[in-house]
């Protein structure tokens, strides 16, 4: 295997004319690469994503709806149990709601609303799940969901109904801004950072779009004013 490693690098260097390059030229190239990685050039962001304040929320709601997500605005997370209960009951039986462990969800009156809240990873029986987004992106109506010990990725992928809470304070114009904010919190990046734009879908049969190919069939986003 080490042979293959050296061989590929050798072929690349050969093709790129490195063997003939003087050492100071090679040093300059490596410095160029390291410089660009350390201080990346910033590309202009599309005008659509350069929004602020209420316009950001409006754009997010519009784009998320276009991607076939259901959206609603609530004053605070405290409204969630009452809002979510009928969805969980009507559509998915009463097998409980799988949730990521998050301070925004944990203290809410779920039992009073008739919902049994569970934590952990999802399995074959998971029908409904709820999570809190790390960020929202107005340009495309996307949610950023991040793997942590409290937030297993399977929670976002196996349920039929996926409910996501997005506090307005976590809404950004573009993916670039959301990633920058994430990296300020988690140096490097988490093991998985997933941008989700609408429910799972496929057009593999006669180019007709069907929701719920392997992931959620229904994505419901609550944008809350307060944290």
């Amino acid at each position: 295997m080490t042979e293959a490693r050296a061989a590929i690098l050798g072929r690349l260097r050969e093709r790129l004319g490195r063997p003939a390059a003087p050492p100071e030229r090679l040093r300059a190239m490596r410095a160029e690469v390291d410089g660009r990685l350390a201080d990346p050039p910033v590309h202009p962001l599309p005008a659509r994503g350069r929004v602020a304040g209420e316009a950001t929320v409006a754009l997010f709601l519009r784009m998320a709806a276009e991607a076939k997500a259901e959206t609603a605005r609530i004053a605070s997370a405290a409204e969630l149990p009452e809002q979510v209960a009928p969805l969980v009951r009507e559509n998915r039986g009463n097998e409980g709601l799988l949730a990521t462990a998050d301070p925004l969800l944990d203290g809410l009156p779920w039992e009073e609303a008739g919902i049994a809240l569970r934590h952990g990873r999802a399995d074959e029986g998971t029908r409904a799940s709820i999570a809190v987004a790390a960020a929202g992106i107005a340009e495309t109506g996307s949610l950023l969901l991040v793997a942590t010990p409290e937030s297993p990725m399977s929670v976002h992928l196996l349920a039929d109904l996926h409910v996501v809470l997005l506090p307005v304070s976590r809404l950004f114009g573009t993916m670039e801004e959301a990633l920058a904010a994430l990296r300020r919190e988690v140096p490097g990046l988490p093991s998985a950072a997933m941008f989700v734009t609408g429910p799972s879908r496929t057009a593999d049969i006669e180019q007709q779009m069907q929701l719920g190919a392997h992931g959620p069939k229904q994505l419901r986003i609550y944008v809350s004013e307060g944290e």
Binding site: R11, V33, G198, S200, D204, H214
Partner: protein
Amino acid sequence: MEITSNAFRERSARALKDADLQDALKNLKRGFQEKRTHAVARLPEFSDLQDRAVAIKDHTLGLLDFYLERFESKVEANGVRVHRCGTNEEARETILSICKDVGARTVVKAKSMITEEIAINDFLNANGVEPVETDLGEYIIQLRKEPPSHIIAPAIHLKRGQIADTFRQRHADFSPDRSLDAPRELVDEARQIMRRRFLSADVGISGANLLVAETGSVVLLSNEGNIDLARTLPRVHIVIASIEKIVPTLLDASVILRLLSRSATGQEAATYTSFVSGPRRPGEVDGPEAFHVLLLDNGRSALLKSEFEDMLRCIRCGACLNHCPVYGVTGGHAYGAVYTGPMGAVLTPLLEGRERAVPLPNASTFCGRCEEVCPMRIPLVSLLRRLREGQARAGSPPLLARLSLGLWAFCARRPALYHGLARLGVAFARRGRRRGFLRVWPRAGGWGGRFPAPEGTTFQAAFRGQRKRRP
């Protein structure tokens, strides 16, 4: 898959007579072309982003040896095992040995063209490991034992009735009386089957849309969510990517992502865009415990600094297939290769050998729509022409073709002679005209034997006439 591109002529002739295929291919226009046009029109910066993306890729390719080293050290620091593979055989052996090491019996696969390129499925099957395709289109063609006919819509050549027949034959556990008329019913059945597959598989395999040197991340796009399930649920994950997928930074990746989904399906963003940076971390309860990245060369390095280097910018969006008049009537299987359409007509001879894909550079009208829609501004027509020139130098076109082209070139360099002959030809053709079509025309079989007769005079004469009317 076995490359059978040299049978393009026979396969495309068969494709033209296949009514189901012709019906299915009509969906290209509605499904892809119109959506792409709409999505591009909604992003006024699209063309600027294209310029940026081309500059990013060209910069990276020029320093690929250094970026490769930086990507590898980052991804290893994230706890990932890196394997460099020069050839398809090495890649297959590496994947098999990872599977054997963990005693894997089944592998769930995300749709990935590079796994088609290395033909991993047959190899795993032959060695006692069952590969299961999880992308719906890819799963359908796996059941039918067919290769994909499109790089992002592998089952685009099929109609729903054909898919329903396949499901009835292969899904023995389901009631034979069930209805499978609606696409919804087909999707639900596949979803149900795939659930168990995801949850019981030992290993997940995916390709990569981009590799980010700055963070050692793998970028994965899907609409179905199958890639993220294949990555999250099994205890081992293997990513296989070719070396030219590297981009320097997350900001660079964002530029290319804005082009990719719009060009591919006309979406503002893929439903799932994941930046994956290694195995599960302490305390996490899902995600793979072991994470491998295979970096495959298989002929890419030989294209650097060659007259075909532009092809290394390709991001596999499929726009050139969706807009190609040849692909639009032959479908993908006629190409007899992993990569089809215009990008496949360039890439197949380069990766598999010129002699194994002689007809492909000629399977183009040179209309240039592929170039027009290519987000990475790859000059596909020029690249195809260079391949044809190479064939001409090697003397591979048949004698008759070379003689006729020589004769045409002789006349074209002598305007007076050319115009005289053109006028004569038109006058002659008009005499033979019956109800607007010529009955007899040499070698017009490909036109269904009905070659339209010239309506008026020669193009040159008509052009002169029009200039006189509207100076």
